[in-house]
Symmetry: C2
Subunit: 210 residues, 2 copies
């Protein structure tokens, strides 16, 4: 309901959580924040599983007494509640096209780039990974590079991911792309992506991750 | 635009393609179909990459001269164009909740269950997998089981994934869940999921995968 207090259950280092804060900033929506440490298992406690998310993951956007997991679903909710911000196109094809980039983000971009970043920022870094994770490195590196190459081709042709201009698709993909160096990717190899990152960061209402 | 011819570029054995045909059936929308063999590389030819999808993947929904990759974005488009079918809830939270299950499907369900099925149905089956894929089997099995367990908990409490009733979320998750045995999962372990599969298949307008 309009007026329900909004609480973001998050880990501040997570790009999936940051994209919700960035959407809220563009939408002009206030969010209360509750922090959890993923690496310390704080999203797997019996209380978290019972009360916040049985899937044991963050982010979760709490709207009054209701809970919405999945970062891109939370971004969609906030953007739809603030139509004046124009983050979701009104044309049906363009709206589906925004979702196309958001599903691409969760299927091809986040599982490679965000996961590599999470592993590299962890204790011991890449050298400290166990054999199972080390075996996944080549596939994650090539998958992440393919995701960045697809964005590069699109952004070499137009200023933002949708031809209509800045949208929720840009917000969602900005989150982990702007820290892709921390995942081991050289953004110098993707000049159109770098120029787009600067355009997104220069938008009125932008807030940084930290 | 309304009236644009709709062409589904697909591989008939893909659940991601089937979910678009199932959405179209419920929406009462006619689709022309063009078949490609993924294993034969037919979605990686220079012509496919240039004309259909630079990402080299199917399904792609062609709407007139425009192309929409990502299965769940295509389902969303078709469902929105047929509001009388009621596949997308009108309430804002419920709409985001449908997207929550659709993002869960692409992030936690499809990469485990669909990928295991694809590997097992391939030449040589599971025994013929290379070392890199074999190393991923335990994580994909436990990830797929966790996805089915999350659905089981939800469907033990209510008839469909959303409390409002049958929606696009059910269509999208039906596609690979109903063939999860082909991925090596025993659906007998998930009785609420099995009962839900039967309810979805009994809906007016349902069409089978084959």
């Amino acid at each position: 309901m309009a007026g329900d207090p909004l609480i973001l259950h998050e880990d501040p280092v997570s790009g999936n959580c940051y994209k919700i804060r960035l959407t809220a900033a563009h939408a002009g929506t206030a969010l209360e924040r509750r922090g959890y440490d993923i690496r310390a298992g704080e999203t797997r406690t019996p209380r978290f599983l019972a009360e916040i998310n049985p899937n044991g993951r963050i982010p979760v956007l709490q709207i009054g007494t209701r809970f919405l997991p999945e970062s891109n679903a939370a971004c969609w909710y906030l953007a739809e509640q603030a139509p004046e911000a124009g983050l979701i196109p009104t044309d049906g094809f363009a709206r589906a096209d925004a979702l196309r980039w958001m599903f691409f983000e969760q299927y091809q971009h986040e599982p490679n780039i965000a996961t590599l970043r999470f592993w590299r920022l962890g204790p011991g870094g890449e050298a400290g990974l166990d054999a199972a994770r080390r075996a996944q490195l080549p596939a994650k590196r090539s998958g992440g590079a393919a995701a960045l190459a697809l964005m590069e081709a699109q952004l070499a042709r137009q200023a933002f991911l949708l031809p209509q201009g800045f949208s929720l698709a840009d917000i969602v993909l900005y989150a982990y792309t702007h820290v892709a160096e921390e995942a081991g990717f050289a953004l110098a190899d993707y000049p159109a992506v770098r120029a787009w990152l600067a355009r997104v960061a220069a938008r009125p209402g932008h807030v940084p991750m930290a």
